[in-house]
Symmetry: C2
Subunit: 126 residues, 2 copies
DNA sequence: GTTGACATGCGAAGATCTTCGTAGTAAGGT
DNA sequence: ACCTTACTACGAAGATCTTCGCATGTCAAC
Protein backbone atom coordinates (compact mmCIF):
# COMPACT_ATOMS: atom_id res chain seq x y z
CA UNK A 1 0.00 0.00 0.00
CA UNK A 2 1.78 3.06 -1.23
CA UNK A 3 1.54 6.01 1.10
CA UNK A 4 0.43 9.29 -0.30
CA UNK A 5 1.50 12.74 0.84
CA UNK A 6 -0.72 14.54 3.26
CA UNK A 7 -3.09 16.64 1.16
CA UNK A 8 -2.71 20.40 1.51
CA UNK A 9 -5.60 22.64 2.46
CA UNK A 10 -6.64 23.40 -1.11
CA UNK A 11 -6.25 19.78 -2.09
CA UNK A 12 -8.37 18.63 0.80
CA UNK A 13 -11.12 20.98 -0.26
CA UNK A 14 -11.17 19.33 -3.66
CA UNK A 15 -11.09 15.86 -2.17
CA UNK A 16 -14.15 16.61 -0.07
CA UNK A 17 -16.02 17.50 -3.24
CA UNK A 18 -14.91 14.29 -4.92
CA UNK A 19 -15.87 12.21 -1.92
CA UNK A 20 -19.33 13.65 -1.64
CA UNK A 21 -20.15 13.76 -5.35
CA UNK A 22 -18.17 10.83 -6.68
CA UNK A 23 -16.11 11.07 -9.88
CA UNK A 24 -16.18 14.59 -11.24
CA UNK A 25 -14.88 16.73 -14.04
CA UNK A 26 -12.94 19.85 -13.23
CA UNK A 27 -16.01 21.84 -14.10
CA UNK A 28 -18.11 19.97 -11.57
CA UNK A 29 -15.61 20.61 -8.83
CA UNK A 30 -15.15 24.21 -9.81
CA UNK A 31 -18.86 24.86 -9.67
CA UNK A 32 -19.08 23.58 -6.13
CA UNK A 33 -16.08 25.51 -4.92
CA UNK A 34 -16.94 28.73 -6.73
CA UNK A 35 -20.21 28.73 -4.88
CA UNK A 36 -18.49 29.27 -1.57
CA UNK A 37 -15.54 31.40 -2.55
CA UNK A 38 -14.04 33.11 -5.59
CA UNK A 39 -11.90 30.70 -7.55
CA UNK A 40 -10.87 30.60 -11.17
CA UNK A 41 -11.52 27.54 -13.24
CA UNK A 42 -7.89 27.12 -14.20
CA UNK A 43 -6.82 27.28 -10.58
CA UNK A 44 -8.95 24.27 -9.77
CA UNK A 45 -7.74 22.57 -12.92
CA UNK A 46 -4.12 23.08 -12.03
CA UNK A 47 -4.63 21.81 -8.52
CA UNK A 48 -6.33 18.69 -9.77
CA UNK A 49 -3.55 18.08 -12.27
CA UNK A 50 -1.01 18.34 -9.50
CA UNK A 51 -3.07 16.00 -7.38
CA UNK A 52 -3.06 13.52 -10.23
CA UNK A 53 0.74 13.77 -10.37
CA UNK A 54 0.87 13.09 -6.66
CA UNK A 55 -1.57 10.22 -7.08
CA UNK A 56 -4.02 11.79 -4.69
CA UNK A 57 -6.62 11.40 -7.42
CA UNK A 58 -6.90 9.17 -10.46
CA UNK A 59 -7.84 10.56 -13.83
CA UNK A 60 -9.89 9.00 -16.56
CA UNK A 61 -8.95 10.65 -19.85
CA UNK A 62 -11.27 8.72 -22.08
CA UNK A 63 -13.71 11.53 -22.59
CA UNK A 64 -12.75 15.03 -23.53
CA UNK A 65 -13.45 16.38 -20.10
CA UNK A 66 -11.26 14.24 -17.88
CA UNK A 67 -12.98 12.60 -14.97
CA UNK A 68 -11.22 12.69 -11.64
CA UNK A 69 -11.77 10.45 -8.66
CA UNK A 70 -10.28 10.45 -5.18
CA UNK A 71 -7.56 7.84 -5.04
CA UNK A 72 -8.50 6.71 -1.58
CA UNK A 73 -11.81 6.57 0.22
CA UNK A 74 -12.61 9.36 2.60
CA UNK A 75 -12.09 7.22 5.70
CA UNK A 76 -8.53 6.33 4.79
CA UNK A 77 -7.48 9.93 4.32
CA UNK A 78 -9.34 10.95 7.44
CA UNK A 79 -7.38 8.32 9.33
CA UNK A 80 -4.16 9.66 7.88
CA UNK A 81 -4.97 13.22 8.89
CA UNK A 82 -6.23 12.34 12.34
CA UNK A 83 -3.18 10.15 12.98
CA UNK A 84 -0.88 12.87 11.78
CA UNK A 85 -2.40 15.50 14.04
CA UNK A 86 -2.49 13.01 16.87
CA UNK A 87 1.26 12.59 16.62
CA UNK A 88 2.20 16.18 15.99
CA UNK A 89 -0.01 17.97 18.48
CA UNK A 90 -1.47 15.50 20.94
CA UNK A 91 1.42 13.20 21.75
CA UNK A 92 -0.69 10.31 20.51
CA UNK A 93 -3.51 10.90 22.96
CA UNK A 94 -6.83 10.22 21.29
CA UNK A 95 -8.55 11.42 24.44
CA UNK A 96 -6.75 14.72 24.10
CA UNK A 97 -7.78 15.03 20.49
CA UNK A 98 -11.39 14.34 21.34
CA UNK A 99 -11.34 16.95 24.07
CA UNK A 100 -9.83 19.41 21.65
CA UNK A 101 -12.58 18.73 19.16
CA UNK A 102 -15.37 18.94 21.71
CA UNK A 103 -13.91 22.13 23.10
CA UNK A 104 -13.59 23.69 19.68
CA UNK A 105 -17.12 23.25 18.39
CA UNK A 106 -20.38 22.75 20.15
CA UNK A 107 -21.37 19.12 19.94
CA UNK A 108 -25.02 18.24 20.15
CA UNK A 109 -26.33 15.76 22.66
CA UNK A 110 -27.05 13.54 19.74
CA UNK A 111 -23.45 13.71 18.64
CA UNK A 112 -22.22 12.76 22.10
CA UNK A 113 -24.53 9.78 22.10
CA UNK A 114 -23.21 8.86 18.68
CA UNK A 115 -19.70 8.96 20.02
CA UNK A 116 -20.59 6.60 22.84
CA UNK A 117 -22.25 4.26 20.42
CA UNK A 118 -19.23 4.19 18.14
CA UNK A 119 -17.00 3.69 21.13
CA UNK A 120 -18.97 0.60 22.15
CA UNK A 121 -18.91 -0.68 18.64
CA UNK A 122 -15.21 -0.04 18.31
CA UNK A 123 -14.41 -1.83 21.54
CA UNK A 124 -16.55 -4.78 20.60
CA UNK A 125 -14.62 -5.32 17.41
CA UNK A 126 -11.38 -6.37 19.04
CA UNK B 1 -8.78 37.67 22.06
CA UNK B 2 -6.62 38.02 19.00
CA UNK B 3 -6.54 34.96 16.82
CA UNK B 4 -3.22 33.58 15.83
CA UNK B 5 -2.36 31.81 12.60
CA UNK B 6 -2.38 28.06 12.60
CA UNK B 7 1.18 26.99 13.40
CA UNK B 8 3.04 25.18 10.65
CA UNK B 9 4.59 21.76 11.15
CA UNK B 10 7.98 23.09 12.14
CA UNK B 11 6.43 25.69 14.38
CA UNK B 12 4.30 23.12 16.10
CA UNK B 13 7.33 21.03 16.84
CA UNK B 14 8.87 23.98 18.62
CA UNK B 15 5.70 24.74 20.49
CA UNK B 16 5.56 21.21 21.85
CA UNK B 17 9.01 21.71 23.30
CA UNK B 18 8.00 25.01 24.89
CA UNK B 19 4.84 23.50 26.32
CA UNK B 20 6.60 20.58 27.90
CA UNK B 21 9.65 22.43 29.19
CA UNK B 22 8.29 25.86 29.87
CA UNK B 23 10.13 29.04 28.84
CA UNK B 24 13.26 28.16 26.90
CA UNK B 25 16.19 29.69 25.13
CA UNK B 26 16.82 28.83 21.52
CA UNK B 27 19.62 26.59 22.69
CA UNK B 28 17.29 24.63 24.94
CA UNK B 29 14.86 24.04 22.13
CA UNK B 30 17.58 23.21 19.67
CA UNK B 31 19.04 20.59 21.97
CA UNK B 32 15.73 18.81 22.23
CA UNK B 33 15.03 18.89 18.54
CA UNK B 34 18.56 17.99 17.46
CA UNK B 35 18.21 14.84 19.51
CA UNK B 36 15.55 13.48 17.23
CA UNK B 37 16.61 14.84 13.86
CA UNK B 38 19.39 16.85 12.26
CA UNK B 39 18.73 20.56 12.62
CA UNK B 40 21.02 23.54 12.65
CA UNK B 41 20.95 25.96 15.52
CA UNK B 42 20.27 28.94 13.31
CA UNK B 43 17.35 27.18 11.68
CA UNK B 44 15.63 26.83 15.02
CA UNK B 45 16.58 30.41 15.87
CA UNK B 46 15.08 31.75 12.68
CA UNK B 47 11.88 29.80 13.17
CA UNK B 48 11.50 31.09 16.69
CA UNK B 49 12.11 34.66 15.54
CA UNK B 50 9.41 34.27 12.92
CA UNK B 51 7.10 32.80 15.53
CA UNK B 52 7.73 35.83 17.70
CA UNK B 53 6.81 38.07 14.75
CA UNK B 54 3.59 36.10 14.34
CA UNK B 55 2.97 36.29 18.08
CA UNK B 56 2.91 32.53 18.39
CA UNK B 57 5.53 32.94 21.11
CA UNK B 58 6.53 35.78 23.36
CA UNK B 59 10.16 36.74 23.84
CA UNK B 60 11.91 38.03 26.90
CA UNK B 61 15.03 39.91 25.79
CA UNK B 62 16.26 40.92 29.20
CA UNK B 63 19.07 38.43 29.31
CA UNK B 64 21.52 37.94 26.52
CA UNK B 65 20.02 34.62 25.51
CA UNK B 66 16.41 35.52 24.83
CA UNK B 67 13.83 33.43 26.57
CA UNK B 68 10.85 32.28 24.55
CA UNK B 69 7.51 31.13 25.78
CA UNK B 70 4.46 29.78 23.99
CA UNK B 71 1.94 32.58 23.62
CA UNK B 72 -1.01 30.34 24.36
CA UNK B 73 -1.37 27.27 26.53
CA UNK B 74 -1.22 23.92 24.84
CA UNK B 75 -4.94 23.28 25.20
CA UNK B 76 -5.92 26.40 23.33
CA UNK B 77 -3.76 25.59 20.34
CA UNK B 78 -4.89 21.99 20.43
CA UNK B 79 -8.46 23.21 20.29
CA UNK B 80 -7.62 25.41 17.34
CA UNK B 81 -5.99 22.56 15.45
CA UNK B 82 -8.67 20.03 16.25
CA UNK B 83 -11.39 22.47 15.28
CA UNK B 84 -9.61 23.29 12.08
CA UNK B 85 -9.25 19.67 11.06
CA UNK B 86 -12.80 19.00 12.14
CA UNK B 87 -14.04 21.60 9.69
CA UNK B 88 -11.73 20.83 6.83
CA UNK B 89 -11.81 17.05 6.81
CA UNK B 90 -14.64 15.79 8.97
CA UNK B 91 -17.51 18.11 8.13
CA UNK B 92 -17.66 19.03 11.79
CA UNK B 93 -18.25 15.50 13.00
CA UNK B 94 -16.39 14.92 16.24
CA UNK B 95 -17.46 11.29 16.10
CA UNK B 96 -15.79 11.00 12.72
CA UNK B 97 -12.61 12.56 14.02
CA UNK B 98 -12.51 10.19 16.96
CA UNK B 99 -12.99 7.20 14.68
CA UNK B 100 -10.21 8.49 12.49
CA UNK B 101 -7.92 8.76 15.48
CA UNK B 102 -8.80 5.37 16.86
CA UNK B 103 -8.38 3.80 13.47
CA UNK B 104 -5.03 5.45 12.93
CA UNK B 105 -3.21 4.35 16.07
CA UNK B 106 -3.78 1.52 18.42
CA UNK B 107 -5.51 2.82 21.52
CA UNK B 108 -5.03 0.94 24.74
CA UNK B 109 -7.96 -0.28 26.78
CA UNK B 110 -6.89 2.23 29.33
CA UNK B 111 -7.13 5.02 26.79
CA UNK B 112 -10.62 3.98 25.78
CA UNK B 113 -11.67 4.03 29.42
CA UNK B 114 -10.11 7.46 29.73
CA UNK B 115 -12.15 8.66 26.80
CA UNK B 116 -15.35 7.43 28.39
CA UNK B 117 -14.44 9.11 31.62
CA UNK B 118 -13.75 12.43 29.91
CA UNK B 119 -16.94 12.08 27.97
CA UNK B 120 -18.92 11.72 31.19
CA UNK B 121 -17.11 14.63 32.70
CA UNK B 122 -17.65 16.74 29.63
CA UNK B 123 -21.35 15.99 29.51
CA UNK B 124 -21.76 16.75 33.16
CA UNK B 125 -20.32 20.21 32.74
CA UNK B 126 -23.13 21.58 30.67
C1' DG C 1 -14.97 24.89 -43.27
C1' DT C 2 -15.60 28.46 -39.96
C1' DT C 3 -16.91 29.73 -35.64
C1' DG C 4 -17.90 29.43 -30.77
C1' DA C 5 -17.77 26.92 -26.63
C1' DC C 6 -15.11 24.44 -23.73
C1' DA C 7 -11.38 21.59 -22.56
C1' DT C 8 -6.29 20.82 -21.26
C1' DG C 9 -1.35 22.23 -21.04
C1' DC C 10 2.01 25.32 -19.72
C1' DG C 11 4.59 28.90 -17.70
C1' DA C 12 5.16 32.06 -14.37
C1' DA C 13 4.34 34.98 -10.43
C1' DG C 14 3.68 35.74 -5.60
C1' DA C 15 3.23 33.88 -0.97
C1' DT C 16 4.80 30.99 2.49
C1' DC C 17 7.81 27.50 4.58
C1' DT C 18 12.16 25.73 5.73
C1' DT C 19 16.79 25.74 5.61
C1' DC C 20 21.39 27.60 6.52
C1' DG C 21 25.72 30.58 6.10
C1' DT C 22 27.74 34.77 7.35
C1' DA C 23 28.35 38.81 9.90
C1' DG C 24 28.15 41.39 13.85
C1' DT C 25 27.94 41.85 18.91
C1' DA C 26 28.17 41.03 23.84
C1' DA C 27 30.46 38.46 27.84
C1' DG C 28 33.99 36.31 30.28
C1' DG C 29 38.46 34.45 31.11
C1' DT C 30 43.48 35.13 30.66
C1' DA D 1 43.49 44.54 25.80
C1' DC D 2 42.71 40.19 23.51
C1' DC D 3 40.79 35.93 22.32
C1' DT D 4 37.24 32.58 22.54
C1' DT D 5 32.69 31.46 22.96
C1' DA D 6 27.89 32.14 22.51
C1' DC D 7 24.21 34.66 20.92
C1' DT D 8 21.26 37.44 17.66
C1' DA D 9 20.32 39.56 13.18
C1' DC D 10 20.10 39.34 8.41
C1' DG D 11 19.85 37.82 3.82
C1' DA D 12 19.13 34.50 0.66
C1' DA D 13 18.25 30.12 -1.50
C1' DG D 14 15.37 26.28 -2.51
C1' DA D 15 10.99 23.89 -1.92
C1' DT D 16 6.19 23.93 -1.95
C1' DC D 17 1.61 26.05 -2.34
C1' DT D 18 -1.68 28.74 -4.63
C1' DT D 19 -3.00 31.58 -8.02
C1' DC D 20 -4.00 32.82 -12.84
C1' DG D 21 -3.48 34.21 -17.91
C1' DC D 22 -2.66 32.64 -22.30
C1' DA D 23 -1.91 29.33 -25.91
C1' DT D 24 -3.57 25.39 -27.97
C1' DG D 25 -6.59 21.65 -29.20
C1' DT D 26 -11.15 19.46 -29.96
C1' DC D 27 -15.87 19.02 -30.94
C1' DA D 28 -20.36 20.18 -32.51
C1' DA D 29 -23.38 23.19 -34.89
C1' DC D 30 -24.25 26.08 -38.36
Amino acid sequence: MSDLPRPTDAELEILTVLWSRGPCTVRDVHEVIAQRRPAQYTTVLKLMQIMADKRLVSRDEKSRAHVYEAARPREVTQRQLAGDLLDRAFAGSAAGLLMGALGARKASKKELAEIRRLLDQFEEAR
